[in-house]
Symmetry: C2
Subunit: 224 residues, 2 copies
């Protein structure tokens, strides 16, 4: 079956290392920009009655190259393999992602509606194939048992940023950056105390090291 994007996401997550590991856990905001065919207020009529939405989206194309039926979830330390259908890993057949987000509001760019959402775990530019309202009485399974994913399981880091670095980031984006850093943006399975890591956030490159539970920013500079 051929599917085509109905929208794409716009935010400050320029690489996958900046993205929170699970949807819904932050108040970091993203915009959902509709493709031309769907950029019409009729397509979202009554959506503001819903507090949350589902996004069905596409992982970047190269993630399912290996065609393995098993994956190694970061949550399990990266040593243990589980079935791809028992995980939310991006390395999966058809490369479809599923995320719940909070609908913060609707804005308009001319006649085109833009959905403001928080908690999205999608990289900037990710194509979205469907948007559905979250229906609590059928989607919220309060009695669910979630195997090895029972709790978030990722410890938060203490974050240290010197003023000389912090001042480079616009004030409006600072709390978002802190939240990303606190959630440990290192690639999975990395824990090299000496290594300097880097990732792109908004229009900036962020460099840092991690020592035990302490993350220290070593440099920040603008990129274009």
């Amino acid at each position: 079956m051929e599917i085509t994007p109905v929208a794409h996401i716009e935010n400050d997550f320029k690489s996958k290392f900046a993205v929170p590991r699970q949807s819904g856990l932050s108040r970091i905001k993203s915009k959902i920009i509709f493709e031309k065919e769907f950029a019409d207020r009729n397509a979202i009529r009554e959506i503001e009655g819903f507090s949350h939405l589902w996004l069905i989206w596409g992982f970047s194309e190269n993630e399912y190259d290996c065609k393995s039926l098993t994956v190694r979830p970061p949550r399990l330390g990266g040593n243990k393999r589980v079935g791809v259908f028992a995980s939310r890993s991006p390395f999966r057949p058809n490369g479809l992602g599923l995320s719940s987000v909070r609908l913060e509001g609707v804005e308009y760019s001319g006649a085109s509606p833009v959905l403001i959402v928080s908690g999205a775990d999608l990289i900037d530019g990710t194509p979205i194939y469907d948007i559905k309202p979250y229906i609590k009485f059928s989607d919220c399974r309060a009695d669910a048992v979630s195997g090895f994913a029972e709790s978030n399981g990722f410890p938060l880091l203490d974050v240290e940023i010197k003023d000389e670095h912090l001042k480079i980031i616009p004030e409006s984006k600072r709390s978002t950056l802190f939240e990303i850093l606190k959630n440990d943006p290192r690639p999975a399975y990395h824990s090299d105390n000496k290594r300097e890591y880097g990732f792109r956030f908004s229009d900036f490159e962020i460099k840092f090291t991690v020592n035990n539970n302490k993350l220290e920013v070593t440099d920040i500079y603008a990129v274009n």
Copy 2:
């Protein structure tokens, strides 16, 4: 993007009128049969630790012919139009469905695993494009507000089946049939007291009328 089925569903719902209107609301069982490439116990390793699963599946192909940006949800009586992205209607771009089901167990057909699930709202034979574990801490939004879909909203019917009709149905399938009938299997927006409706259930044709809140079965016969 091209997507291909990883599995399909097997159950007694032979037409969409027999399918419950929302996933997760019944204990009616279905089987998930993996396509050959994924029919491997490794692909579901550790899945039994999860009580619920998400299915991303395909509505039958002809449902998005009209390309309207609005739909008329049965929940609103069929008179009021809402945006397609504010509804779970099958008449939507890309024709993707999203349902949570309860994982009742795993069986094997030779070396191929078969997932036994309950609460699926998919017609027999529906292609499934992804199966993901339900992760309670990110998927269950207990604070969600669900607009016009705040409650199930469909009244249950009183069901009357004469013994001469009921005996045609195997005992093991009777409770499922009662549950389908109780949930009003008429096409949306129909409320003609005199009309005889019919639908296919398992290997049987079920005929019935509805008068106010009372559904009376008028005939049952085997089809092949």
